[in-house]
């Protein structure tokens, strides 16, 4: 292992009040180290706040450890970034660990990693300082098309899409992390085999989202377990730019399972998410057109059990068409059910009784203090049902997640 002290003390002394050229020097120095690092190298970042003006990138490397002096001790600030969208970008690599540092105020995503096998984030914070705003970058930590992803003891604050976002990836663990003041706290999208546990997602628009979207390279996500998380007070007004799917998530969402199969949500505290503690919905609810003929817009094989539900006695928090729907059509008033299912079925998966065959069933096991509604959305919400009996089954999910 080779140690590369990335910034000399000389550079450190000018950090407090750096003229533009010094800033450019630091940028170049850091970038040069990332380019010339040999496989197996350790790149050490000393404590301090480093002002950076463009994306730092690591490409085509194996077994690199990028280590700061600690979260909130080594701060890479991209305030006023002029070039590149991300803070740090890692691509086409394997066995990469990023730990003990903070990335602030990037124009786009905080840290994006693409095509990496073995990517670990530990004690990394990504934040947008100041009040949450649609001008903030989309994703905090953003592994996409990666395998063996570990996010452990990280924090994401202020993302205008998702704080901790894993997209089109495989074998994922997200644990011991905190997400707040994001539109989505934690999101698993079009990804396979993920375990999300012991996280705290609070004061986001939506706490934890499990999505499957059309028109992507990796289409079929699933085998996602969300357990032992504390998902509370996710009532923050949605501040995502409107064109994004996540802009449709109503404020007050605890957990949302959108069009994904093989999802288990268990043993979570789901408190004071005042619109939908847990929503299980098809892609039709987004009202986006579907042109991808291979895409399955229906959630199936979902199992919700062992969760503890609480909510304040207030109206549905979401705005827009969804808010109108709850206010004027569904008229739950201040007693919005904790678990909401849109009830739209794929006819190909149903048995003679018109319900899903056992391998596709939505199961709602014993939860503490849960109320329920099937919205009958496929039938213009005509026969809203609060009967949980048809969902009395168990559907345990097993993942092959190997990331440690």
């Amino acid at each position: 292992m080779r140690l590369i002290p990335i910034l000399t003390l000389g550079a450190l002394t000018i950090i407090c009040h750096q003229p533009a050229h010094a800033q450019q020097d630091i940028q170049k120095k850091l970038q040069r180290q990332l380019i010339t690092a040999e496989d197996g190298a350790v790149i050490e970042l000393p404590p301090g706040t480093f002002q950076l003006s463009s994306t730092l990138s690591l490409e085509g490397k194996k077994k690199i450890l990028i280590r700061g002096a600690g979260m909130d001790k080594t701060i890479l600030s991209f305030k006023g970034q002029t070039e590149g969208a991300e803070g740090l970008r890692v691509s086409n690599a394997s066995d990469i660990t990023i730990r003990d540092l903070t990335v602030q105020d990037t124009k786009g995503d905080g840290i994006k990693t693409m095509n990496v096998t073995g990517i670990a984030f530990k004690q990394v914070k990504v934040e947008w300082t100041g009040p949450p705003a649609k001008e903030n970058g989309a994703y905090g930590l953003y592994p996409v098309q990666c395998q063996q992803v570990l996010i452990d003891s990280c924090t994401a604050i202020g993302a205008s899409d998702a704080g901790l976002y894993i997209g089109q990836s495989k074998d994922i663990v997200v644990r011991n992390s905190i997400a707040r003041h994001n539109v989505a706290g934690i999101e698993i999208e079009n990804s396979l085999h993920a375990e999300v546990y012991q996280n705290e997602a609070y004061e986001n628009t939506g706490g934890i989202l499990v999505f499957d979207l059309p028109d992507l390279v990796q289409k079929k996500g699933g085998y996602v377990k969300v357990y032992n998380n504390n998902i509370h007070h996710n009532n923050f007004p949605n501040f995502a730019p409107k064109g994004n799917t996540v802009a449709k998530v109503p404020a007050g969402t605890g957990v949302m399972v959108l069009a994904t199969n093989h999802v288990e949500v268990s043993d979570n505290k789901i408190h004071y998410n005042n619109s939908a503690g847990t929503a299980i919905i098809s892609y039709f609810m987004t009202e986006n057109p579907i042109k991808d003929s291979t895409y399955m817009p229906y959630p199936a094989t979902v199992y919700i059990h062992g969760n503890d539900y609480l909510r304040e006695k207030v109206r549905f928090q979401g705005k827009g068409r969804m808010g109108m729907l709850f206010r004027f059509k569904l008229r739950f008033g201040k007693n919005v059910p904790h678990i909401i299912y849109d009830g739209i079925l794929n006819k190909e998966w149903t048995g003679p009784d018109g319900q899903y065959k056992s391998e596709y069933r939505i199961c709602i096991g014993p939860n503490n203090n849960a109320s329920f509604a099937n919205l009958d959305a496929g039938n213009k919400f005509k026969n809203v049902s609060h009967d949980m009996q048809p969902y009395n089954c168990a559907n345990t999910i097993t993942t092959t997640t190997s990331a440690q």
């Binding site: 970038q31 690591l58 786009g108 064109g243 991808d292």
Partner: protein, 351 residues
């Protein structure tokens, strides 16, 4: 006895291995980047005049990538007695040992090129036995030499544009990782420009104007094609006589976007493919919802809304110069107003 034989064999093998390794190292060293551009000996006389030595061929593309209004000089150097292999669709096969040379410069006044120019950087794509390598050389203020820089840089630039307006901005020189940000096919570094379509056009050679592919065939450096008129031809984006509005707009999008936005490119995660041979309307962006565009999506719903450039995310991102919104992501500080106008017209005319 047999023991001694084994020892002798062992020694022989070790010797052979050492020799092989040494020769391997030697080849690697032969392809290591040089510190200065002049060491390559690509140009004769005053290097800033960019007159290539014999054996180095200048070329141009029908519709080039927009690079903040910089102008570019392109050259190719092939190893002796080697040839390029024709491909009607993809980048043509260029043999190992070849170098693509591209110099970026700004005329002081685009209306009066004779007033002089400032060379910014010369980028090399070198085809080594281990694959393509990208290196950037930054020109000094005196315009006497260009120096290798792997970490990129930024230089203030001023010029007068075609309309007589003064433009001042920071020109960005990419770092080597950023080179691969664009030159990337399935994570392998590859050239982008030299396709038959892009080269199928005239070049003002010192010997006179001639079709480039025909010139290469005559020079014996292109195999697999005997007649340039058989090859496909990309239109010139700003010459309506060279192609329809759609062809020109899509060719512009291909050269500016499809190096990432293709099924084998870094932006495949978006599902938006702007390569010319994509025919699925959704994949081309028509009424396609964005995936991870963040604020790049603004308040718009679709990448392309037929008839409505003002409602199309594609146009919004081409127009922006905000690093969190704009496309392409790299090496652009200015908006290509004319290219933007072309794409807007195409979307406007779309039914």
């Amino acid at each position: 006895m047999s023991m001694i034989r084994y020892i002798i064999y062992g020694l022989l093998c070790a010797g052979l291995l050492t020799a092989l390794l040494a020769s391997g190292r030697h080849t690697q060293r032969a392809y290591a980047p040089k510190e200065t551009l002049s060491e390559y000996g690509f140009f004769k006389g005053n290097m800033a005049e960019q007159v290539p030595v014999a054996g180095i061929m200048p070329y141009q593309l029908n519709t080039p990538l927009f690079s903040d209004y910089s102008e570019k000089l392109r050259f190719i150097q092939l190893p002796p007695d080697s040839v390029i292999t024709y491909d009607p669709l993809n980048v043509m096969y260029i043999p190992i040992g070849a170098t693509l040379i591209k110099t970026f410069y700004y005329p002081q006044d685009m209306r009066h090129p004779e007033k002089g120019r400032r060379l910014m950087e010369t980028r090399l794509l070198v085809h080594t036995p281990g694959g393509w390598n990208a290196w950037t050389y930054i020109w000094n203020e005196e315009q006497t030499e260009a120096y290798l820089e792997v970490a990129g840089d930024r230089k203030p630039v001023r010029f007068t544009d075609h309309n007589g307006r003064n433009v001042a901005f920071d020109y960005i020189i990419p770092n080597v990782n950023q080179c691969k940000g664009c030159h990337n096919t399935n994570e392998v570094l590859m050239p982008i420009g030299p396709t038959a379509r892009q080269l199928n056009g005239d070049f003002p050679y010192t010997s006179g104007r001639e079709n480039q592919l025909q010139h290469w065939i005559k020079a014996g450096i292109l195999q697999g094609l005997t007649d340039a008129s058989q090859a496909p031809r990309a239109p010139v984006w700003n010459d309506p006589a060279s192609g329809s509005l759609e062809d020109r707009a899509r060719t512009w999008l291909e050269i500016n976007c499809a190096h990432c936005h293709k099924p084998e490119g870094p932006a495949k995660t978006s599902g938006l493919f702007l390569n010319i041979n994509e025919h699925d309307p959704t994949k081309m962006g028509i009424l396609k919802t964005p995936v991870a565009a963040g604020r790049g999506a603004a308040n718009l719903q679709y990448d392309i809304v037929p008839g409505h450039p003002e409602k199309s995310i594609l146009v919004y991102r081409m127009e922006s110069t905000d690093p969190g919104i704009m496309m392409p992501e790299l090496s652009r500080k200015l908006t290509h107003k004319e290219g933007l106008e072309l794409v807007k017209q195409w979307i406007k005319a779309m039914k």
